[in-house]
């Protein structure tokens, strides 16, 4: 690489804490003129936080700022708001489009930077009333688009454009800004088709040739390898490596990205092939916003702990939500030999499936209600349990409810003031245990558990996972665990399916190599 090119951005020793939780530890990043620099990492590795620091987002400054220094074009700078970043010549192409659908391409490109000319009214009342100079705005828009070699009508409305074109309009808007020195692309290819993505990559290269430095954030490793000169890998807030393209391979990047050391996998000698299939999923499609499932086939064996992993937004969360009937879905699901109806939560619960939602506070709990009522509510509804019969009417049986709640509080070690305490006063870990108790009240044969340790402190995490293993071992309950934390999946699951782009990329044993997990998560290829 050409070491003589001057540096555009240098971030030195960047650290960031959120409420005592270190999310970035001593990151050093150097981007030179005309360089495409890749940043890869799992969800939560610190990519967004790093970019938020670069753009001076208020979320950084309202939580105590950051440590370290930033140099731009060789001079130390303080970036305390996105406006500062823009003034320096740093632009961002967002993953989600920041476009106004009802406006034309030109209007979007020139938004808030309109070209105006004086008129009679503006001479009297000031610049707010100047006339828009449509002609030169259109020319600017056309010029920016032609840099991208895009043949988009600059007067077309955004609303009617294909998704790929919207992405290019976003880029054109950044290009149209004068003095742009550094462009950040945050997962720009996530919504593009393959050919559009190819076009975007070639555009990136052309932009770099004009001297613009580019930071390219993605989890598609082959794209990184295709265009980037150097690649920085982040994992858990640590800069694991910065490598030149020539020094590394996709496999190495994948391994670096995942790279967890497995903690004592208390592996049980389970011969899964002898077990019968308890849940057979074929051709499952789930329309869950942000977690769409395209086509999933799974066979889950009786009594196993089956893991579902993958990056955020790839559809792993959608699987359990779809089968449980919470989001519109299609396909066929057979449980214990019977086919179960989709889009019907009641029937699914009746057949003996239960679900711990990833959205604990939003879906899993009645925050204002007591611990005991949270535990029994679904069982009352589904199995008519905890009721006292009085002829035609039956009322909730307070003593029975209290006794069951006490039993659960003891068994799961739920720390609360008593069964009548509202659940909103409990800590995250204890709320999760209330959710587990709620599921147990349903006496399920199969339990879906999604992100059970999200937002829970470390000690409680382990207890929640231990509880799941204990349930599985003592009662033989089949557990399907969906988690973003690969380490968590690998520590308790018998098999792990990795989901990417709404499909099963492959199913691995928990002790499979890091690189294999990394490749599947990046959607690189499917292993048998």
């Amino acid at each position: 690489m050409d070491r003589n090119r001057s540096s555009v951005l240098e971030m030195k020793n960047i650290s960031k804490e959120f409420y005592g939780n270190k999310v970035l530890k001593g990151i050093n990043l150097l981007v030179r003129e005309g360089e495409i620099h890749g940043i890869v990492g799992e969800n939560g590795a610190g990519k967004s936080t790093l970019m938020n620091i670069l753009f001076g987002m208020s979320v950084i400054h309202s939580t105590g700022g950051f440590e370290g220094s930033i140099e731009f074009l060789g001079k130390p700078v303080t970036i305390s708001s996105p406006f500062d970043a823009m003034a320096l010549g740093i632009g961002m192409v967002h993953q989600e489009f920041m476009l106004i659908p009802g406006y034309s391409v030109t209007e979007n490109i020139k938004l808030n930077r309109e070209i105006t000319k004086d008129n009679f009214l503006s001479n009297i009342f000031g610049p707010g009333l100047r006339t828009l100079n449509w002609e030169s705005m259109g020319q600017d828009a056309k010029r920016a688009l032609s840099k991208l070699e895009m043949d988009i009508d600059e007067w077309a409305k955004i609303a009617g454009l294909p998704v790929g074109h919207m992405q290019f309009v976003e880029i054109a808007r950044e290009l149209d800004k004068q003095n742009i020195k550094l462009l950040v692309f945050d997962e720009p290819t996530a919504v593009l088709t393959e050919s559009e993505a190819d076009r975007l990559l070639s555009t990136l290269r052309k932009l770099a040739e004009t001297g613009i430095a580019i930071l390219f954030i993605t989890h598609r490793l082959h794209e990184i390898m295709e265009v980037c000169e150097r690649i920085t890998v982040l994992r858990d807030g640590v800069q694991v490596a910065t490598k030149s393209k020539s020094e590394t391979t996709i496999e190495e990047l994948a391994r670096l990205m995942v790279g967890h050391t497995i903690e004592s996998v208390g592996k049980r000698a389970v011969n899964l092939s002898e077990r019968k299939t308890i849940l057979r999923v074929r051709d499952l499609r789930v329309r869950m916003p942000g977690e769409t499932v395209q086509k999933v086939d799974l066979d889950i064996k009786e009594g196993e702990i089956f893991g579902i992993g993958g990056l955020a937004g790839q559809g792993k969360i959608g699987i359990a939500n779809g089968i449980m009937g919470l989001y519109d879905s299609s396909g066929s699901v057979e449980f214990d030999g019977d086919s179960i109806p989709l889009n019907n939560p009641r029937e699914v619960l009746k057949r003996g499936l239960a679900f711990l939602s990833e959205d604990r506070r939003g879906v899993g709990l009645l925050l204002d209600m007591s611990v005991e009522m949270n535990i029994v509510a679904p069982a009352v509804e589904i199995h008519h349990k905890f009721l006292k019969d009085f002829g035609i009417f039956s009322f909730l049986d307070r003593t029975q409810i209290r006794a069951f709640a006490q039993e659960m509080i003891q068994r799961l070690d739920i720390r609360c003031l008593g069964p009548d305490q509202p659940v909103k006063r409990l800590s995250g870990g204890n709320q999760q245990k209330v959710c587990i108790a709620k599921a147990l009240a349903l006496e399920p044969k199969l339990l879906f558990v999604s992100e059970p340790t999200r937002g829970i402190d470390i000690g409680a995490k382990k207890r929640v996972l231990d509880t799941l293993v204990e349930l599985n071992q003592k009662t033989g309950m089949t557990i399907v665990l969906t988690s973003s934390e690969l380490a968590e999946l690998r520590s308790i699951c018998d098999r792990i399916a990795i989901i990417s782009e709404g499909r099963v990329m492959g199913i691995l044993a928990p002790d499979a190599e890091d690189a294999q997990f990394g490749l599947l998560m990046a959607g690189e290829y499917a292993v048998r």
Binding site: M324, L326, P345, R346, E347, V348, L349, K350, F355, S357, D359, G362, V363, G364, L365, L366, L367, D368, M369, M373, A377, P378, V380, E381, I382, H384, L387, F393, S394, F395, L396
Partner: protein
């Protein structure tokens, strides 16, 4: 440092006091103080206190069921039941039918309720379906549906083929604006088992009747369906994930509210002595809504105690305000003005609170 510690201690104590006041509800405290000050000024103006209390009890008996109709609606998550005029009209139709059939006394009263319930179920069902289509703006839509239905029924009252001369206009067609219940079911509940203690007249029958309704409601909330209904209101996603058909529950809650509205207007009418038709039901929803909010309910949570406390406070103020105002200033409509200020003010407060303090 020590000074700081002391300071932080006092602030925590202050904070906890403020929190307690807040959890009790600032508007409720203001209303209670207002009622107390009215009572004190009534004492100074030598307005007979027992008479005031008697009136308050009568009004409590008349209005509580209407307030109670807010409860299922809030619990099931469709917020304040501004569709109350729908229930009221069903009740009025029941009352009119009972007169048309020439019934008298308690029979007439319960027959009126009997006639109105099927109507209320029908209307509540339709209204519930409508509310399911406008989730999030139930209150606004409800208010206008109420207005529209009242106006529509103004035609209805003119055209419905009721023949009884007690109700019909002397000339032309249709029913009068107010129909006297004298000799029908005026005061049937108020006079039932009524007695006097320390000069305070207790309308036992009315209080027992609303007591029974409250009891039935609280028992209902302890059934499986009652619990399911509350789950829908507290967290519709939880309810859905527990296999509850949220839309069906919302319809059920709306039906129960509508039925209570119908029963409510009949209890109100028996105390008032008249059936008020045409435009009269228009603003009744606001009074009931204000009452339950004063009692401590919010747009999302409510208890039966809120219904009773709220109606007592709200009606208590109205009862005292009129004689006090008449003695202080000869401004005829002061009681009416204070009713409008209090009821609209408290609704405004509740709406402004929505979303905050959670």
């Amino acid at each position: 440092m020590q000074y700081d510690n002391k300071k932080s201690q006092t602030t925590t104590i202050l904070n906890s006091i403020l929190k307690k006041i807040h959890s009790f509800g600032i508007p409720r405290i203001i209303i209670i103080l207002f009622l107390l000050s009215l009572w004190i000024s009534a004492a100074f103006l030598s307005i007979p206190f027992p008479a005031l209390l008697s009136d308050t009890f009568v009004r409590l008996g008349m209005n509580t069921v209407l307030t109670l109709s807010m409860l299922p609606s809030i619990l099931v998550g469709t917020s304040l039941f501004f569709g109350l005029p729908l229930g009221i009209i069903c009740g009025l139709l029941g009352g009119v039918m009972s007169i048309e059939l020439n019934l008298k006394g308690l029979t007439a009263f319960f027959a009126a309720i009997g006639f109105s319930i099927p109507l209320a179920i029908l209307v509540g069902y339709g209204y519930g379906i409508l509310l399911n289509r406008v989730k999030g703006s139930e209150m606004t839509v409800g208010t206008y549906v109420g207005f529209a239905f009242v106006s529509l029924m103004s035609f209805g009252w003119v055209t419905l083929p009721f023949k009884n001369p007690e109700m019909a206009w002397a000339i032309g067609k249709g029913i009068r604006v107010t129909v006297s219940l004298e000799g029908r079911f005026s005061n049937v509940l108020n006079k039932l088992w009524a007695f006097e203690i320390f000069g305070i007249k207790i309308p036992t029958g009315a209080l027992v009747f609303l007591g029974i309704l409250c009891l039935v409601m609280s028992l209902f909330l302890r059934t499986r369906t009652g619990l399911a209904m509350q789950e829908c209101g507290m967290n519709p996603k939880f309810a859905k994930a527990s296999g509850i058909d949220v839309d069906r529950m919302r319809i059920l809650g709306t039906i129960i509210s509508t039925i209570l509205g119908a029963i409510g207007i009949l209890t109100y009418a028996q105390g008032f002595g008249f059936l008020q038709l045409y435009e009269a039901p228009m603003y009744m929803g606001f009074i009931a809504a204000a009452a339950i909010l004063i009692g401590g309910a919010t747009l999302k949570t409510a208890k039966i105690s809120h219904v009773i406390i709220g109606t007592f406070l709200f009606q208590g103020i109205l009862v005292v305000a009129l004689p006090v105002a008449n003695t202080v200033a000869t401004l005829g409509s002061l009681a009416e003005i204070s009713r409008i200020i209090v009821s609209n003010g408290i609704i405004l407060y509740a709406l402004a609170q929505r979303g905050g303090n959670e």
